[in-house]
Symmetry: C2
Subunit: 455 residues, 2 copies
Amino acid sequence: MAKDQPPRPSRRGFLKAGGAAVAAGASLGAGLAASPSALARAAPHSVDPQLVVEPFYGTHQSGIVTPQQTHTYVAALDLTTTRREDVIALLRAWTEASARLTQGATAAPLPANTTNSASSATTASSTDNAGDAANPTTSKPAPDSGDVLGLGPCGLTITFGFGPGLFTHEGKDRYGLASRRPAALVDLPRFNGDQLIAEKTGGDLFIQACANDQQVAFHAVRQLSRMAYGVATMRWGQSGFLSGPRGQTPRNLMGFKDGTNNPSTTQPQLMNEFVWAKASPDAPWMEGGTYTVVRRIRITLEHWDNTEVDFQEQVFGRHKYSGAPIGKQHEFDAVDLKEEDKDGNPVIPENSHVRLSNQASNNGAQILRRSYSYNDGTNFYIERWPPWRQETEYDAGLIFIAHQGDPRTGFIPINDRLAKFDMMNQFTTHVGSAIFAVPPGAKPGSYIGAGLFET
Amino acid sequence: MAKDQPPRPSRRGFLKAGGAAVAAGASLGAGLAASPSALARAAPHSVDPQLVVEPFYGTHQSGIVTPQQTHTYVAALDLTTTRREDVIALLRAWTEASARLTQGATAAPLPANTTNSASSATTASSTDNAGDAANPTTSKPAPDSGDVLGLGPCGLTITFGFGPGLFTHEGKDRYGLASRRPAALVDLPRFNGDQLIAEKTGGDLFIQACANDQQVAFHAVRQLSRMAYGVATMRWGQSGFLSGPRGQTPRNLMGFKDGTNNPSTTQPQLMNEFVWAKASPDAPWMEGGTYTVVRRIRITLEHWDNTEVDFQEQVFGRHKYSGAPIGKQHEFDAVDLKEEDKDGNPVIPENSHVRLSNQASNNGAQILRRSYSYNDGTNFYIERWPPWRQETEYDAGLIFIAHQGDPRTGFIPINDRLAKFDMMNQFTTHVGSAIFAVPPGAKPGSYIGAGLFET
């Protein structure tokens, strides 16, 4: 597909055309690696977000420097199989299904012969559905739940990662991969204030699906999770969203712009310096990948909403409405950590979030944050110690997602400092945590993680 | 505002203009009651969903027959005050704030003098912010969390309802309203299979916020909930979403089109017959209102996904992909419950959802369903009895919302039949439930529920 003609198939179009859009295997990804993911960024209002297509195959996995879609569903699975070949087969199947899903197709071709309506949905899909047409049984579940039929690709990206448990599990080298574990894939230390819930923490395999539609994102993880039956089980799943005026920095649930100081994804040298993993002797297969940290950070919105804006700005180190550093006028004005007021006090408070997380406070380290808000309704709490309260509180906050070339110089030292000193901590609690080695992208015909298993 | 020129203010536009868009009090709602809510329906692709404005004031509350937006946040609160005038003051404050929020404005004017950035956000807002400008204290929290600044109105509707507890609470007539409780506002009976969780059930006051943006919907409930401090507390809150090809019937998480057989909201006589409450001697104040039932229905998606499409279609009584009744070709083909196959068996199974819920099976009763899917991530379960399993499962399903003129002839008999016989029950569990009297709309200058308190 030509670069100036981004592909615009939709699930409905796909169905009507009987899969023609993705029928020719090689064309599925070959031309897409170069497809401009700047599409959504360049002309946010002129492009229908349902019709955006992001590439699946490529040097890097999508969903890392891809302009952020409006929704995500992230999930971690635990491997239950003892067989290395099962893991490889799963990754192959996930790769093929993901290439289809990101094009707006079903996870696998629908059976051609189920009912009047199913057959009308797959008319003329002779090439794509040949396998199923030759085997006219309907005695197994359809390979796709069908709940996003008719929606477009919605800019879907699917990003896979490997947790420490893929390499060693309870001291055992299950799959002969222990020696290939990257040194950078450390077990995260306990940070000050961590209140991690086991069922929302860790995981052997990671799936991040991002899309411009909530159901499309979840649909992807749901189909992939089904394919893992007998090999891996869900450990945790979490939906997230991002609302913001298009083309501007989105605001998190605290009402502040979030991501202003991110390294620019449009500058490849910054991505090479901070985001993409370099070839290292211990893990040459990770070149072009990244390391991803996920933290479920609950925010006590009720408490936050009862604080004054002036105080909130001291916590962030930024003005709330403009997003400018304190004392400045504009969002992208430089953060000057040395500036003092007339009394010699720092203009940006010592314990403010922006100071503690700033590159200048962290030996030049930067991480690429690509977080989403989450909102899981409410929970009823009883606190049996002061203030002895019982009440319904929002279960809402931030799914913090950060990518970096090495978490030992990225998230870990930055969060260590934040966890100790950040004024924001009185409003936030880290309840989930995970770290993954996110391998480079796959070539058509290969699969995600091939470099780990086959070199 | 002229009918052929729908208002298109945005939160950003509002801020830049200093609130001019909503400064002239009366204009806020007066002209909007006639604003065409068919806007989104008529030309779904040509209208930016961020810029859609729905009226707040009017004969009926919005959010009932309004074309369904893509997201909702529904919540119930429990009253804690003992004073009738507190309830009235809350409803007045909610009405005023809702009129602002649905226009894309903040819940109340932002203080004019907080910081450089706050003042730039409210420049020239002399009329609207006069109260605050005259009182330059910043020692209280801002009246809006600010997290959707810059977004448009997003088609926001806010709908209020009254639960049984407003009228009598633990046998007490707290507010002198016991005699005004409508007979139609019954306490819902226990239905077969109900597994209701107390913290997701009931409530004295109901807020339903619907918008074309997840954060805008939650933002509305969050601001309104803050205004209730000291008068009412959150009982439960729940976010929901609706994904579907625009202009078509959306699919629920089971992959079936949901809402095909709804009475058409474009036919006022159907709405008068089935949805709008009639003046009754016991509750004349409810004329033009409706009765709303909310059920949180968890769906075991993992189980459902392991069933064959043929079986799923038997459960629904419809074909999955086309949405047509079994044996028919098109979604809107009539449901013929009398049709039999060559062996004399009913084509649409006896225990199928579409048969049991059909008007013909329920003495002609119809309800207006306006449901949303929900997805609250995953939960970890341990079952200590057969099948003795422990696993992570999706916490996802349907926020069933149904409006009707009288639940005694609507939801209750229909759900009684479904709860006993519907094949779908093996995949669904009702875990939350509530019923509310949703009063008619308010006139500008008055407030939601005025008829209950003042006549």
